[in-house]
Amino acid sequence: MLRSLDYAGSPSEPASLGMTGLREQFPILSATSRGKPLVYLDSAATTQKPQVVIDAERDFYTGWNANIHRGVYEYSERATVAYDGTRATAARFLGGVDADEIVFVRGTTEAINLVAQSFFRPRIATAGATVLVTEMEHHANIVPWQLAGATLVPIPVTDAGELDMEAATRLLAARPAMLAVMHVSNALGTINPIAELCAMARTHGVPVLIDGAQAVGHFAVDLPALGADFYCFSGHKLFGPTGTGVLWGRREHLAMMPPYQGGGDMIDLVRFEGSSFARPPERFEAGTPNIAGVIGLNAAMQWVMAQDTRAWERHDRELLELGRHLLGEIPGLRFIARPADAVGVLTFAMDGAHPHDIASILDGEGICIRAGHHCAQPLHVRFGVPSSARASFGPYTTEAEVRALATGLQKVRELFG
């Protein structure tokens, strides 16, 4: 465990204890990039997939592929049960909500668009158009509200990369139509005080949507304890397939929301003069969904629930401390912010070296990091930088990889020296 770790230790030291046997489950992690062993430090963009997830999709296609609902033959029944059964898995995964409150979507982005169009938009007339967001939001939690006609008010972010809770208290008291806030920042790693925000919002009668995209892969989410109205995440950031995601919404909200997309499976009666619609969750799932993807997502959630995520948290925290320590010693390197409560994300700039150059040079070493605005332009405006470089961890990330990053950055430093 890192608490007893010697920061000057050699890169060949074993990964911390909790994570033994985890890497082997991810076939890609033994691959190479640019002729070097892959050092994947871009898990905030998308996570890698364990074999069980890859197999779940393949087994479906090779063994029992069929379209769901309305089919009464064996494969279709099995596919239907597996698809709809994933709602129960998701409901458990989120700490115990109702399976009927789980809507499958393409990802976090679609989930927020759905809520913006089907929940927020029809309420503008009565609740007003103001949506309270934060300065650190991902574009996915900004643009959908704008497209739905919102006036956005951002909760400011402090120099430490944390929410200004005093401002939040004040702004919530003005009773916006909605509070839309990220659980964990993809750009800074900040873990936001969601339960506190939800409690405040509740006293003012403000419904809350939580963007959980960066939370679910890092720690267990307990929705009943959070008290939000909507929560969403993407499968591909949770070791699951691309093109999958979950929107959870309170039963009473879903029940009164109009459909989002129209088509097969979300209807009751279709006539040219007008149609009536199915109950939630089907009402919000028009057309053939990503069946294989949802089956893969089921495997991913089951897999995560079988892990020791407490150990993940410790490991993540240890790597973050190590990374902050090692990178902090590199001359000219500066973290955009250092939030106290954070997941394993290192976001920085380097004097004289543009983030894209940093990323390209690390790429030559087989090290994958991201450079740019990380879909958080307003946050970069806030911190007065056009872009930044970001290394982000998964549970499979090792100490040796964090050390390799530091070594690589030393090289960048020398090159641009």
């Binding site: 640019r34 070296a353 543009h354 983030p355 894209h356 150059d357 390209s360 040079i361 790429d363 030559g364 450079a371 740019g372 605005h373 332009q377 056009p386 872009s387 090159l415 641009f416």
Partner: protein
């Protein structure tokens, strides 16, 4: 062909540190700006084009990565003294070089050094940003 790191160690760092024609012109005949879709970086370009269509002076400014800065720097050096038509043709050759198509290597001269970048399609956008602005600018007198 050069790897990315060799590219950096060669021309890129050199031009990033001392970019040619990195200045604002007093009396440009043409000017314009562009943004790299990859990162939002911006640059502005100014030209003095004489009556015969020859680019007699050129200056660029802006913030950007070393690749875009070095490429813009070398571009300005390459097009000075050329006609607008020749400069545009050079862009076509440069683009061909970076996208793995047949390119006139003699015409490209020193610009051939960027060839290795073709293996990094996302960075091609950085290397051609200055050229895209040029193409835009020659169409709009200032």
């Amino acid at each position: 062909m050069a790897t990315m790191n060799e590219l950096y160690q060669g021309i890129i760092i050199e031009h990033d540190r001392s970019p040619r024609n990195f200045r604002t012109l007093d009396a440009p005949t043409h000017s314009g700006e562009g943004r790299n879709p990859l990162c939002g970086d911006e640059m502005s370009l100014q030209l003095v084009v004489d009556a015969e269509g020859v680019i007699t002076d050129v200056g660029f400014q802006g913030r950007g990565c070393a690749v875009s800065k070095a490429s813009s720097s070398m571009m300005t050096a390459a097009i000075k003294g050329k006609t607008v038509a020749e400069a545009t043709e050079l862009f076509d050759q440069f683009h061909a070089l970076l996208t793995g198509k047949d390119a006139d290597r003699t015409a490209l001269g020193k610009l051939v050094a960027f060839e290795g970048l073709g293996a990094y399609p996302m960075r091609v956008k950085c290397a051609t940003m200055g050229w895209h602005v040029l193409k835009d600018v020659v169409g709009h007198k200032s």
